[in-house]
Symmetry: C3
Subunit: 474 residues, 3 copies
């Protein structure tokens, strides 16, 4: 490191922070229920607890999950916090620009719902962080986040406002997008020395720190998938996610033991146990039935564990994709599974099985305006449905698959582009000795695992030479 590196990073951060403040001053304001209003009503209550659960997932969950590397824990948990804080502000701006007519003088509004969306947005970038963990400089990571947020939010907007696809826990827009964006960037950044670096592995305590992240992600995932709903949809999303994760965990242990002569693999437990939360993400609020949720978890645990064992080495060897955290197994493939499941469930959302609840989950299945169907629907129901596009179940299923396709295409395309940008020398791509090692990015105290041993061995040898030479004096 050098003063130049520090200065460059400083200027980049301070300029952007200043820009953020100016943009907020010009374009942002409090949401209605955060403005001085009379009489007082607390709108916070409902969403805030779910938001705090998700907040823990982003900063403790992702942060500690990535501390599994023996010499990279400071960067994992520290830079995770930096990226999260950076993205939250940037995502509020990007969402504000996309979703409001700011050119016509409209302001965008900050409330707890937007805070939840901003935390989700940082989740996307932190998933991509997992794919390039240990092989990127902090500056590269901020550049990556800057680009990714803009494109991920654009993709989400297209899928939601144009394709009108449903994705309760955003398994497509967050997990699949973040994973394949990161993997595409990792492919462009591929380097032989990273693949062979012996620092790219855990020690006993680093694996235990990582489990802190895993378990908080695991426990609060029902809040992640249900946070943007209320009533029976929220309740179903909680139940489905909870059940899916329990089945996923049992199946992960079963396969992990099977694949290693009865010994469990910590990397499976740290990651594959969570795949059930991703896989059920798109359909969490739908009427999956409890057994459907368990089945989804079973499939996800199997897919993810086998992914770690067979697919990840394949990707590295033949496609030169070095996936540090195995995001393809935890977020990528389970995200695709979620999208496909969403399409199938949508295609089966017939009137006789779902009744009117299909209109809650898929508003575009509501009959179009000024039709007798809409009139009869609203006259026979306590709730007054706003006109939709009158999509059939099959059509909705097709749009769900389209959303998955668009997401994958945008993720891979923008990931490749971002990878190329990150290779520009000015962004300080790590040199070989800087890979997977906090020493080059942090002032690290003594006592880093491994060092003590080595030191001792060295000092030992040194002493040995000294002694033995002395012993040869006579």
């Amino acid at each position: 490191m050098s003063y130049l590196t520090g200065g460059k990073f400083f200027v980049f951060c301070m300029l952007l922070e200043a820009a953020f403040i100016v943009i907020f001053a010009r374009l942002a304001d409090y949401g209605d229920s955060a403005r001085p209003i009379q009489p007082k009503v607390s709108k916070v209550g409902h969403v805030y607890p779910s938001f705090q659960d998700v907040h823990v997932m982003i900063f403790i969950g992702f942060g500690f999950l990535m501390t599994f590397l023996k010499r990279y824990g400071y960067t994992a948990v520290g830079v995770n916090m930096l990226i999260g804080s950076f993205v939250i502000q940037w995502a509020l701006i990007v969402r504000g620009l996309i979703r409001n007519k700011v050119l016509e003088g409209a302001k965008f509004h900050i409330n707890v719902e937007e805070m939840l969306a901003a935390d989700f947005a940082s989740g996307t970038c932190l998933i991509s962080f997992g794919a390039v963990l240990g092989k990127t400089s902090p500056l590269q990571l901020l550049i990556m986040a800057l680009i990714e947020v803009a494109l991920a939010q654009t993709n989400k907007h297209i899928c939601e406002e144009i394709l009108h696809a449903a994705d309760a826990g955003e398994s497509m827009y967050i997990h699949a997008f973040g994973a394949y964006f990161g993997l595409a960037a990792a492919r462009v950044l591929y380097r032989k020395d990273a693949k062979e670096c012996e620092k790219n592995g855990p020690v006993y305590n680093s694996d235990l720190f990582s489990m802190i992240g895993t378990i908080f992600l695991w426990m609060y995932w029902p809040s992640f998938n249900s946070g943007s709903f209320e009533g029976d949809e929220q309740h179903r999303a909680i139940i489905n996610t909870y059940l899916s994760l329990t089945a996923c965990t049992v199946v992960t242990f079963a396969f992990s033991g099977l694949l290693h002569k009865g010994k469990f693999e910590m990397v499976h437990v740290q990651n594959a146990t969570l795949a059930g939360g991703v896989a059920v993400g798109t359909t969490a609020h739908m009427v999956l039935h409890p057994w459907g949720a368990l089945l989804m978890g079973l499939a996800a645990g199997m897919l993810s564990t086998l992914g770690f064992h067979f697919i990840q080495p394949f990707l590295l060897k033949y496609l030169r994709i070095h996936d540090t955290c195995g995001v393809n197994n935890l977020h990528g493939m389970p995200g695709i599974l979620a999208g496909v499941a969403g399409s199938i469930v949508a295609a089966l959302a017939s009137a006789d099985v779902w009744g009117n609840s299909r209109f809650d989950v898929f508003p575009q299945m509501v009959p179009p305006a000024n039709t007798t169907e809409l009139e009869s629907l609203n006259s026979n129901s306590v709730t007054n449905y706003t006109a939709g596009l009158g999509r059939s179940a099959g059509e909705q299923g097709a749009y769900q698959i389209a959303a998955l396709g668009v997401t994958l295409a945008m993720a891979i395309g923008s990931g490749i582009f971002t990878g190329l940008v990150l290779k520009i020398p000015i962004f300080n791509e790590p040199q070989e000795h800087e890979l997977f090692d906090d020493h080059h990015w942090w002032n690290v105290p003594s006592g880093i695992p491994g060092d003590k041993g080595e030191t001792v061995v060295d000092s030992g040898e040194m002493k040995i030479f000294k002694k033995t030479e002395e012993s040869n004096v006579f």
Copy 2:
């Protein structure tokens, strides 16, 4: 380990998971407020935050509390997660079968309240896990959980539906049952080599990991004891548990320092500080008054700390009960204290002190149907009480003690039975070198505490020999 072990474990897990899914498909459905309903009402809000607190206690609390062993942290936190996930599904089924007329075609319903109950059920098994920690194989633990859940839920059903005993935080049904079930099993599984194994102890960092579990259990215990209540009963349960834990913690430090020449024992701080939550569990929702809650915490801290110092060694030496985590001190004796306190408080629940609130806490003290007492009661009160058995305070106290007795008898009996089952060779009871050691159940990376030193010394010696031999050439 071998492919056979892994295969056996795999088949067991997958068969049960498949069975769970089939049973859920046949018998389970969403609870009412999780079904598609119009108009939308959010029933989740009230219970869900409490559920999430308990969820953290089960998976972070119990999981990390047990990581205190120097070479057994992966199993503590990992297998804790496996058992919890397994039990949640199994407990939902067992509760569904016990509480619903499924033979007559009724389905059992999954909602947040049931999720809370399922987490409670896994708590029972994880307490028993603490008694046999380090001395059982994962397969044995799942068999144990399979049996324990069925019997613990049966016991709870008997005490609640037949004896009509009150147990707010289930200190009898969860803590006392889990502890004495586990201790009985540990007695049957007693082995000399486990007692003398030097791996059965902590290192500095493992004790710090363990404190993560302790503190989350300590903080969220008010939610554990109050989760199934609302209104003033919930509020009292929160206050009583909070106060009891603070007094318990101060007293634990006082006794810990006294017993060791002014030095604190980490094992006391990790465990005895929590005894206040157990001791006040049965009576948490009753009108204990703040000073009563503090007194309960004082007694629990003293009992638990003295238990670690005097009773645990006694049990090991004379009764051959090897209690790895000291569950008798944290869950067992404080659970009995809770049950006795519940009986005393019930016996003192006179009309002039308690007023009508005694009918909320002890519904069977409401006068029987078609009596003038019931009529006059309901005519003089804003709430309409459903007829009870007209029990006197003394009678209710007797039924409370009866519930404690039944619980202890069922726990010890079924624990002995389970211990005998676990000794069947097919379940892979650990061999001597497999005790208290992750190496035999996990692929463990280098850097496990203690190993590094050894390695270094070895390599050192090796070098020394080489060098000195060279030095002898002349």
Copy 3:
């Protein structure tokens, strides 16, 4: 340590615990909504989740934040738990005595709101703990807490009930008071050996444990600053704190890297990232606007990071203030910044900008009783304002500064007094070899970081000598 030390500590704790119980029995009762009432209403819901977030900040947040010292983790997290539990009980009593006419027979009431206030009170003492960490005995710390709570609550009462100053997250009453009380005590307790002790530093894993505390503090800070509000004020406090922390984190990384040739300092990330929560504490519920919150975070991150780099060494060298955790940088200076900001915002709270909302935030700006202004105000507003003092914005601003001045004066004065009390030999001030070392306060197992290495080196050398001597036989 000795039996005497343990006995003295035991007697002190048990006497006080007994006194607490007697006082609670005489003077304390449940709050209204925790008493048996008909019909049932749940008053807990609103505050309890915020309370639990704050509870986590106090016991996990402060506890683990202080585990950064290489050989002092047990004391950091364990004694943090002891002090917290002790202070909660004592603070409930002190607040009860100050705020109720107990002499006239009134009882003080325990409810979730009071629990939140008691947790806040322990936060004050734990901040002071950070200033003297490693240099005090457990007994000294309890004496310190005993005095500090009484004076901190008196100060809060003066500022709130006499000066009528607003301090949403109590950045003045908690953070500034706790910091300068602790620093004043640290000045009196200054000793050369503590300044030079090589144990006063982190190792790799202790820094990771510390990050657990940092991140939980960081995530739940919005609940800390908003916990005592509802409606739009709560919502604003959440948004302002959230935004301030994100900006503060980015700026902290920027300055940390700049100051160390592009390498981040873990101590900055552990502490300065939180300064944004302190700095926005006083004004969190005011109409800062989102950009104002970001600006506050930017200033706090800069101030705190520069404080660690330039001011802390200065204080140590020239003022002989040894600030173990750097509380001046995290709590002290940002607390003053918060107070000054509060005064400025109050002075700008003009009618045309704020409208009636200024009366919610500053009730003393409401016109006095029996004035036409008050009548016209209440006749033109949906809410009925109770008469205030009719303060102008400028006057309120002056009272805000006065509150800051009173707080600093009381904190420093009582801190010096407390430091002198702690020097009384009976309270076991640590001897030189007991500084920053758990060994002298706990039964510590093997494997403490650093020890292992040393052992190995020794054994290595030993072997070397043996071998080489043998090699000299010929």
